[in-house]
């Protein structure tokens, strides 16, 4: 066990799985960098340095820099998964799914079911999502609800370094296509992470706080926001449950209902666009199954239904924040 950043935890998971299984390959744009240049090889290791250092262990045969060609990257990775490799393909920013969605939506996600159970597609797609870097409308989206909408694909949103490592190893070993989504703001956060390899099963949400007055349901970067709000409320004598969903597909419905029923007051915090997102989906789930336990209307904290603005003060107003979550909680406490 040692203190590691979210970035280091992901890097270590890749390193260990690649050492364990020679079928694991990393594919993407500048995942090493420096290809074909006279300068440094492994010059980038991904735009934010997450895959840096893997090249010296595995060489260019397994750390595969590609041209800028997301459709071909996703198609190649899907086809490789279908025929014996266990690829980890990088979609640099999730926003670029617009370029290659067919290969995910109509191809890889459907192989197993559409082929009558004969296909196995052990593909992991790693991608960055989320706002806060002033990266504007085409580099700041969440978009995970678009993946949860599609049957056949698993959707993973680690909220901390420990989960990032365990969930990524699980993703790589899993025999279905998985989209593993990394919030850009989390890369420099750190926490205790075991040095050895371990997995966290899919479909098991994590209670990060347990209380009796109010329940926060969160995912990815919003988990830490809710933890902090819970700690603030505790000082005021109110205890909170915080549920970190960890995987959006499969979804741990039992834990969601348990968390909702425990307090009867629910705030769901979701950074994605507000229509047809995870918050609305979970809200429907709770209403269908636990309506009688509710003591107040379910509350959601999401951005408004607009693209992500560039200007720093606008983006701050746009994103879910501790202040917004606590104010929302107070409406029903």
């Amino acid at each position: 066990m040692s203190l590691k950043t979210y970035r280091e935890a992901i890097n270590e998971a890749l390193l260990q799985e690649m050492q364990k299984d020679k079928n694991v390959v990393v594919i993407g744009e500048d995942v090493a960098g420096g290809a074909g240049t006279n300068g440094e090889q492994d010059a980038w290791g991904g735009v934010l340095g997450v895959t840096k250092g893997l090249l010296k262990h595995f060489g260019r045969e397994r750390i595969i820099d590609t041209p800028i060609t997301e459709t071909a990257i996703m198609g190649m990775a899907s086809g490789a998964a279908l025929t014996g490799l266990r690829p980890v393909a990088e979609l640099m920013f999730v926003d670029f799914m617009g370029v290659c969605f067919d290969q995910i939506l109509n191809q890889t996600a459907k192989f197993r079911y559409m082929f009558g159970g004969k296909a196995v597609t052990p593909l992991t797609i790693r991608t960055m999502y989320g706002g806060g870097l002033r990266a504007a409308s085409q580099h700041s989206q969440c978009l995970y609800p678009m993946f949860t909408h599609v049957p056949g694909i698993k959707v993973v949103l680690p909220s901390n370094p420990y989960d990032a490592k365990g969930l990524l190893i699980q993703s790589i070993r899993d025999n279905d296509p998985v989209i593993f989504m990394e919030h850009k703001n989390l890369y420099d956060t750190s926490g205790d992470v075991p040095d050895e390899s371990y997995t966290i099963p899919f479909g098991e949400a994590n209670f990060t706080r347990e209380g009796k007055d109010i329940t926060f349901i969160a995912m990815g970067q919003t988990v830490e926001i809710c933890n902090k709000v819970a700690d603030t409320l505790k000082k005021e004598g109110k205890t909170s449950t915080v549920l970190d969903l960890r995987t959006l597909s499969p979804l741990d419905e039992d834990s969601i209902l348990e968390a909702a029923e425990e307090t009867g007051k629910v705030v769901i915090v979701d950074e994605s666009y507000p229509r047809c997102n995870i918050a609305t989906d979970i809200s429907a789930l709770i209403c269908q199954n636990s309506f009688d336990s509710l003591k107040a209307g379910i509350k959601m904290v999401t951005p408004p239904h607009t693209p992500v603005p560039f200007s720093p003060p606008l983006e701050d107003l746009y994103l879910p924040s501790e202040e917004k979550v606590i104010n929302t909680a107070r409406e029903i406490l």
Partner: protein
């Protein structure tokens, strides 16, 4: 040379303005004064100016993530652009877009783009409008050597060829896509891709304003006259890294020096026009100083300008939630 004195001055003014703008952004960004991601165009100025000097206000362009030069060459106001980079309310897009999304439809600037390969398909549409309405306008889509590998580029060139659209595809090949060399990422030749789709395709020395200008003039005139689309493969180089903050470790020191000293389109322009006795050194220096002063003023004004407020968050969309 077909350019008259006034046009030569305009070319140098434009290139200096682009240079000063992006050099200033380089320093502002390094001083932590600027938010977000910025991609600088220093070293590629002759491409934007050589192309855009053949366009009128009704012609359109679609740009890339490295768009400041294209915007300036197409006539966008540099102070409004600078305010946008600082996220200010009276920036060119109200602070909502930032560096990668500068647009000014009144100037025929259809937008920079954060999506590599996103612009050229839009250019097809503009070209279709001109063809349908018989306006004799053209639309120009800029993209990089890295972008040339996107399917959207091939699809656009093919469609332009099939429909004989007044669309010009301009591949600004600076040798790199992020940290990856063109030699590694581009299979075959970019020029041959244009030829394969039946486009009038030319390779151009992007350090030489006059070569860009002349070649662009030829293909743009043809497109205006219904002779169909073209591809220009412009060989150029950029001084700074992919984005600000890039350590550029994938380039050697010698290469960086060569780019700065031997491949500077402003230096080359200056040498050519003074040697030919077309413009005088003091005239050129005056232009450089004017550009410097203009950009300095743009930065001062931008820093003083107001940020947008909560009232601006829910404008420009059709909802109120």
């Amino acid at each position: 040379m077909q350019l008259n004195r006034e046009e030569l001055l305009k070319a140098y003014q434009g290139m200096c303005m682009i240079r000063e703008f992006d050099d200033a952004v380089h320093y502002e960004f390094a001083a932590d004064a600027m938010p977000g991601f910025v991609h600088l165009y220093v070293g590629e100025e002759a491409s934007a100016m050589g192309i855009c000097m053949n366009l009128n206000q009704k012609d359109t362009i679609a740009s890339t993530h490295r768009g400041h030069g294209h915007c300036i060459a197409k006539g966008c106001d540099v102070t409004d652009m600078m305010k946008e980079l600082y996220g200010k309310k009276d920036g060119i897009c109200g602070g909502k877009g930032g560096s990668m999304h500068i647009a000014d439809l009144s100037k025929g600037m259809l937008g920079a783009n954060g999506i590599v390969g996103g612009g050229p398909p839009i250019v097809l549409g503009a070209a279709l409008t001109y063809k349908t309405k018989k306006t004799n306008n053209v639309s120009v889509g800029f993209f990089g050597d890295g972008a040339s590998n996107q399917g959207s580029i091939s699809e656009s060139m093919n469609m332009a060829s099939v429909l004989k659209l007044p669309a010009i595809f301009v591949c600004e090949d600076n040798g790199y896509a992020e940290s990856t060399a063109r030699e590694y990422a581009v299979g075959g030749k970019i020029l041959d891709r244009g030829k394969a789709f039946g486009l009038d395709s030319h390779e151009v020395d992007g350090d030489n304003f006059f070569e860009v200008y002349e070649t662009a003039k030829h293909v743009i005139e043809n497109a205006r006259n219904g002779k169909g689309p073209a591809l220009l493969h412009i060989k150029t180089s950029k001084v700074y890294g992919h984005f600000e903050g890039d350590a550029i470790s994938y380039r050697t020191k010698e290469e960086n020096e060569r780019i700065k000293n031997d491949e500077d389109p402003l230096k080359i322009f200056k040498m050519k026009v003074t040697e030919a006795g077309l413009l005088e050194l003091d005239q050129l220096e005056k232009i450089e100083n004017e550009a410097k002063a203009k950009i300095k003023n743009a930065i001062d004004e931008s820093k003083k300008a107001e940020f947008p407020t909560s009232k601006d968050l829910l404008t420009d969309v059709y909802i109120k939630y």
